[in-house]
């Protein structure tokens, strides 16, 4: 990732290696329902015709699911080229108003939701257990990184509370950062705000260092992905530019990976749970699956739940259908017409006979929850984060 000045797409993304085969467009999560044609955008990049990018409103349709990058036979990174294009739009200042407001809010409130920083920990109020707050000097082995969406969105806050309950019951030594928790920067980066992302990396690594945090469990695959894949690269680049960054090695796990380890260590098993009744279908989030090849841990957890009948989507693992919640799409409606992927997904789940869709990502929860209501499954189906299911069954 780097800032793209006019005419250096080649240097940044090696676009001349593109052979215009179209595999990227063929696999794109949204090309069926939007004008987004990633092959065409690659061609624009090759020809350096990036001066008219404002006209390509569909650049904001990309969910940054990453499947185009996975499928490209030339090992190019078309998903990153889109970020580069967004980045030049961001620098020019003409971006969708909703994206502008989200980015400005990260700058002032440390979250893209336009909500005050002082209310970031409000979700804790309905909680019975006491949680350590690392920012208040309490020590803990792990930081549970909640993230902006699970801090502010009323539906997703329930996942944060479930996480606290579950980890507490399992005797994990963890803490949170409460109001001091920063935005991880994943969404700003995907929206092309490179400078803001760099600033967050610098600030956040300094903050983690200050509080002695080295082990992190994330609720969101997006935070996981950015801590694991983007932070080290960005920190290296900043250091080369003589920015002072603390030398800390972060050990970051998505919570499903962490719980899988507890299962392997015999600290979490079906005996500890009450019977769950339901047919559960697991929806792979792009940022765990396609982007990080994490397919097993969530399935392993669901499989030990007594009474849960686990079934699979036809389109699963690295072919999982993107819910369209990532890549800044929470703040950009997109040009697409036709059925939303999330609606297709809940219909598929219904057809497969599921009455619980299990997710492991706040954005998937938000989009699928909405879709299952819109599609009329409110009475017959539940969309639940795996943490919520565990919170319900753990004795």
């Amino acid at each position: 990732m780097m800032e793209v000045e006019e005419g250096n797409f080649d240097e940044a993304y090696d676009v001349y290696a593109c052979m215009q085969c179209g595999k990227c467009t063929g696999s794109c999560a949204v090309s069926l329902r939007s004008d987004l044609n990633i092959r065409e955008l690659m061609r624009i990049a090759i020809l350096n015709k990036n001066e008219d990018l404002e006209k390509h409103e569909e650049i904001w349709d990309c969910t940054s699911c990453g499947i185009c990058t996975v499928r490209c036979p030339r090992d190019l990174k078309p998903a990153e080229v889109i970020i580069g294009m967004r980045s030049s739009l961001v620098e020019g200042g003409t971006i969708p108003v909703t994206v502008r407001d989200a980015l400005e809010s990260v700058g002032t409130n440390n979250n893209p939701w336009g909500r005050p920083k002082s209310k970031r920990a409000e979700w804790l109020e309905d909680l019975d257990v006491k949680v350590k707050n690392i920012s208040e000097g309490e020590e803990a082995e792990y930081l549970l990184y909640i993230g902006c969406t699970a801090s502010y969105d009323p539906r997703i806050q329930s996942v944060s509370r479930a996480a606290i309950n579950v980890l507490t019951k399992l005797g994990v030594d963890f803490g949170i950062l409460g109001e001091e928790e920063p935005c991880c920067g994943s969404e700003p980066r995907m929206m092309g705000e490179t400078g803001l992302f760099e600033m967050l990396v610098e600030d956040n690594l300094t903050l983690f260092d200050e509080f002695g945090i080295s082990k992190i469990i994330t609720l969101s695959p997006h935070a996981y992905n950015t801590f694991v894949n983007d932070y080290p690269e960005c920190a290296k680049r900043l250091k080369e530019d003589d920015v002072e960054i603390p030398d800390i090695e972060l050990e970051v796990k998505h919570y499903t990976q962490f719980l899988e380890e507890l299962i392997d260590d015999g600290r979490l098993d079906g005996e500890m749970m009450n019977e769950f009744s339901g047919t559960v279908i697991y929806h792979d989030p792009c940022y765990l699956g396609k982007r990080n090849n994490i397919f097993e841990p969530p399935r392993k957890i669901l499989n030990i739940i007594p009474g849960a009948r686990c079934i699979e989507f036809d389109r699963r693992e690295d072919r999982s259908l993107c819910c369209e919640g990532g890549g800044g799409r929470m703040w950009a409606e997109g040009t697409g017409t036709g059925e939303r992927n999330a609606i297709i997904r809940v219909n598929d789940a219904n057809q497969d006979g599921a009455n619980v869709i299990a997710v492991a990502c706040p954005f998937c929860l938000s989009t699928l929850e909405d879709a299952h209501v819109t599609a009329g499954y409110e009475e017959t189906m539940r969309v639940m984060d795996i943490f919520e299911i565990l919170d319900e069954v753990l004795k």
Binding site: V90, E91, T94, R100, T108, M199
Partner: protein
Amino acid sequence: MDVIVCVKKVPDTAEADVSVDAGGREINKERLTFAINEWDNYAVEEAIRLKEEDEGTVTVVTVGGKDKEDILRRSLAMGADKAIRVDMEDPEDSFVLANVLCTLIKDQKFDLVFFGAQSGDFNSGVTGAMVARMLGISHAAMVNGVEVLDGSIKASRELEGGLNEIYEIKLPALFTIQTGINEPRYVSISGIRKARKKPLDVMTPEDVGVTEVKPMLSLEKMYLPPPGKIAEIIGGSPEEAAAKLASLLKEKGAF
């Protein structure tokens, strides 16, 4: 067209819990976030658009301590050419502020002065009009559209009840700008970094030549309005609250 835009940094109180401090004349500021006044942001954008359409300069001005400089840097990154900060404590009232600004502006070269129509802290909406009066130039308040003509300018003003009126005004003039006149651009972090090279002058009130004036208003006491007697806050989950609201409305004969 040379435009001077006066900007102010204000707390974001839209959703924050606002409380009054022990002294009873100030709100507690520690947990609030501060940013450029929303109306001023539209004013800066409008000035930059005028410059981009034609030519000229944009100067942004604020009064206050060093912590106010970030809104100037941001405006420079948006496209303003120059910034001035008058280094002093926050003025006691709009009249004192208007006096400082007028003294500063009268020695600058300008065709237009822009203010936000009001500021999100006290929402008085008077500073711009006072400065126009002190400078002895024409002014229009709540301007939601401008068009440059030869030697004059057309300004449309928003009136009550959805009406608009259009004036042709001789330059120099002062407008207070209403939100919605444009769509302010995004200012990126790297844009702000790059704008560090642009000039930001810090002047003391003595440099400016400010003579002391007495405030016209003094704040006696600040307090949260006591809850009204008939107001009732409905608590509980969304379902419970909705059910309760429905039964209340029925009870009061709303349907």
